[in-house]
């Protein structure tokens, strides 16, 4: 019941906002957004306290993997919505109805993805997340955002179409064994699945959902989309949407591992992971726009997620922890970048200098965010990246560990060059300090606090859930 309500609240409010005449016009129904986000998070918290019974005949259920993604999405959504309270005062969207409706539709779709234990339902939810975000990317309605929306739609739609084919392949692999496409049945009868179809399903689902994650070489939409979408939308995409897509990859990996084909899946995952790291490192050097920079950083972190999954062992735990760390950190940094764009109109190095003087709080958060995102201690990303590195060394893959270290170092240098230049440096003559409203900085500060906490202390229940998720993925806890 709770699971149904969890999906229904945002869905019903989304339909109401899009359909009812009361929501016409530019005004954004912020109070409604906050109430829905808070109710959603409260329900998610209740799932941590007491497990919920599966709903819809087992189609919706909670497991450690899904709960991690669901919680991350819910927290990030609430923070984003609080940020929106401050943001709409300075930069109201052209249509409050489309803005709020799309955000709520995204929350509903992401909840379905996180809870879906029917893999075709997972696909339906995943496609819905893609579509719900498209109007948000197109929010400014100028040429550049048009181009970005088109690329995003075409590339993601083709990717997700391949994932649908992969889902059908999985049904072919299953044949008449157990209830079709239901995760528990697939796992229970994993050894009876047809291996050739299962391999094909894995490849198609990895490429399909990998396109949505933005793994190289399917990442081409990402810098354009994150660069042109409003920063808070980019933050939701880089933090929550990509995590949902990773969940899709994790689900099929779960099945493949249970079928005893882990040795087939792992090299493929590792290849995509290393390629993404290499591509990110190449394009981060010399990047002149903070949002595009963060997009390539997202390619890097998606690479780390599948790398950890591919390495197995503690790597799976590292990936799960990294999923949370990366999601929260991306939300933090993109929201702060949103403040920069609000103040100066752009996120480019050319348009921003010496932000510590004009935007002291945001600039400080941006610099701290740089260190967090690049995996510096004491932030959580250091811990999770180190866990993935340890998995590489434990597994005897010295060259993977070496490549990881080299690309991470290059990425750090590339990111630091741009971010420090924007934040420090001489302010433009005549620049004055801008008042930063509490709404615009409270969310990023809260996210920064959680990421910092995860670097030094992981709460017991979280550790427990992550460990169980890692075991389901064929790995183990630290």
């Amino acid at each position: 019941m709770r699971l149904l309500v969890l999906c229904a609240i945002p869905l019903v409010t989304a339909l109401a906002v899009l359909g009812l005449p009361a929501f016409r016009g530019r005004r954004v129904p912020v109070a409604l957004l906050v109430v829905v986000a808070a109710a959603h998070l409260a329900l998610v918290a209740s799932l941590w306290a007491a497990p919920a019974a599966p709903a819809l005949g087992g189609w919706l259920a909670v497991d450690p993997l899904g709960l991690t993604v669901l919680t991350l999405t819910s927290v990030l959504f609430l923070v984003t919505v609080v940020y929106i309270i401050g943001h709409v005062r300075h930069d109201p969207p052209r249509s409050g109805r489309v803005f709020a409706g799309s955000l709520l539709a995204f929350l509903a779709a992401a909840s379905v993805v996180a809870l879906a234990h029917h893999l075709a339902m997972l696909w339906v939810g995943m496609e819905a997340t893609t579509l719900s975000v498209a109007p948000l990317v197109f929010l400014r309605r100028d040429r550049r955002s048009l181009e970005a929306t088109w690329k995003y739609l075409v590339v993601s739609s083709v990717g997700i179409a391949l994932a649908l084919l992969g889902t059908f392949f999985l049904a072919s692999a299953q044949g008449d064994v157990g209830r079709p496409l239901l995760l528990p049945d697939l796992l229970a009868h994993a050894r009876e699945l047809h291996p050739a179809w299962l391999r094909a399903a894995f490849l198609f689902l990895l490429v399909g959902f990998g396109t949505k994650m933005g793994l190289a070489p399917m990442h081409t939409w990402k810098p354009d989309t994150y660069g042109e979408a409003p920063s808070l939308v980019s933050g939701l995409m880089a933090g929550a949407l990509t995590s949902c897509a990773f969940l899709g990859v994790a689900r099929v990996t779960e099945v493949v591992v249970a079928a005893g084909l882990g040795s087939f899946a792992q090299p493929v995952l590792i290849t995509f992971g290393l390629l993404s790291l290499a591509v990110a490192a190449t394009f981060i050097i010399g990047q002149g726009d903070v949002k595009r920079l963060l997009a390539y950083s997202s390619v890097e972190h998606m690479g780390l997620l599948v790398l950890g999954l591919g390495l197995g062992g503690v790597g799976a735990y590292g990936s799960m922890l990294h999923l949370i760390n990366n999601g929260l950190a991306k939300g933090w940094v993109f929201l702060v970048t949103g403040n920069v764009v609000l103040a100066s109109g752009s996120a480019t190095a050319a348009g921003n200098r010496g932000l510590v003087r004009t935007l002291p709080v945001s600039a400080t958060l941006l610099v701290l965010g740089l260190f967090a995102v690049t995996g510096s201690p004491p932030f959580g990303l250091f811990l999770s990246e180190f866990t993935i590195l340890r998995a590489a060394i434990d597994g005897g893959h010295a060259w993977i560990a070496a490549m990881m270290l080299v690309t991470l170092a290059v990425i750090f240098v590339g990111m630091a060059a741009l971010v420090l230049g924007v934040a420090l440096g001489e302010a433009a003559p005549g620049a004055v300090a801008v008042r930063e409203s509490p709404w615009l900085v409270a969310g990023p500060i809260a996210l920064a606090a959680i990421v910092l906490m995860l670097g030094v202390y992981i709460p017991g229940p979280l550790h427990d859930v992550l460990t169980r998720a890692a075991v389901a993925l064929g790995g183990r806890g630290p």
Binding site: A120, V124, A134, W150
Partner: protein
Amino acid sequence: MRGAAQIVLLLVVLSDLAVLGTSRLSSCIRGIAAQGLLLGLLPLLIAPQLSVHAVGLALGTVIVKAVVLPWFLAWAIREAAVRREIEPLVGFIASQLLGALAVALAFAIASRLPLPAMPQPLLVPVSLATLIIGFIVLTTRRKALVQVVGYLILENGIYLFGLTQTESVPFLIELGVLLDVFVGVFIMGIVVFHINREFDSLDSTRLTELTD
């Protein structure tokens, strides 16, 4: 019934090739509408007996793929006053040759797949051929609107493969898939409409402002 289904599947391939060979946007859309209608007939012809599931799927498919989406795309052309030629990156004859190659390839692949014995041996090869031809249309046509048609053909190919799994994919999910395709094409259509207004052209190769 089996014979009828075979004929419909062959007509699907012909509609693929027709879209590849046409130089006019309007016939391209008529092609995709015809294909939608054929796809709507298939669940009825394939199902061992008429069930609510098969009839519902057939109805939904016809409404979305043969009526609403083609009508919407035709509306977008009219409203945006698009020039009626398709302007391919690869010539029509060459595209049709590629299409024929795709059909041959699809049959070759399908014959090697470890498939259980199926009442409709043509379903999988036709599905793969449609899938590949969708890709060809998507990548070799300049107009954004024709790329939407390519995406629809690609989706149709996957739908055909899905028909091999009708017993295992519940009706609700099929409706969800249809709804997603519908909303997807709808949003793409709106974006296409704006592209035309902003750039005075539906030529997606002009979308080149965003680079590193």
